[in-house]
């Protein structure tokens, strides 16, 4: 499968998915760590892809949604942003609401 199709399938089959460096248990980048902490606090399961273990996704994810950096959070197939946006939305309570809506679908 083409890598962009693979990414599309991942973001569309998981209500919430984060592309990160490392894992939620063992993040390998401070920005990935903070992002998964914010997601965990929302209290719903989320999927993740460790981009350090998947060079093809690491190379190609930036062009999937025209976003140059990691981590990247997708809810309902849509990129919501990276660490800064995720934390900002968490602070305002918007992240929780979006995740709850996505989880209930």
């Amino acid at each position: 499968m083409d890598v962009l199709d693979r990414i599309k399938e991942q973001v569309e089959s998981n209500p919430v998915i984060v592309y990160m460096k490392g894992t939620p248990q063992m993040p390998q980048c401070g920005f990935s760590m903070r992002t998964t902490e914010a997601l965990k606090k929302c209290g719903h399961e989320f999927a993740y892809v460790n981009v350090l273990m998947d060079p093809e996704i690491f190379q190609n994810l930036p062009r999937y949604a025209d976003w140059p950096t990691f981590p990247q959070v997708y809810i309902n197939g849509e990129l919501i942003g990276g660490c800064d946006i995720t934390l900002e939305m968490a602070e305002k309570g918007e992240l929780q609401t979006m995740i709850e809506q996505a989880a209930s679908k």
Binding site: K21, Q28, G30, F31, L52, P68, G81, C83, D84, M89
Partner: protein, 108 residues
Amino acid sequence: MKIQTAIEEKIKASLTPTYLEVLNESGKHNVPPGSESHFKVTVVSNEFDGKVLIARHRIINKLLAEELAGAIHALSIHSFTPSEWSDKNEQSRQSPPCLGGAKRELSN
């Protein structure tokens, strides 16, 4: 031109910020001294009025596309309108500590 200067000039020219801070945070990371790889940018501009965060970040990512494709490894973006900035008491969140990233992965 230094990357830091390039970032400052591009943002100033395009967004006419009322406040701009470009911090080189590379020293907090696993890179050689004097590197210009990790930046934190705080931009306050009227251009952000009525734009959601992802749209603001896309503007800055696009302005700095050349740097992001090359020298910049990490870019933290904090974007506010002047009134949001005063609501935040004119402070943006601190960047997280480095956890080693790809270099740690490779050395393991």
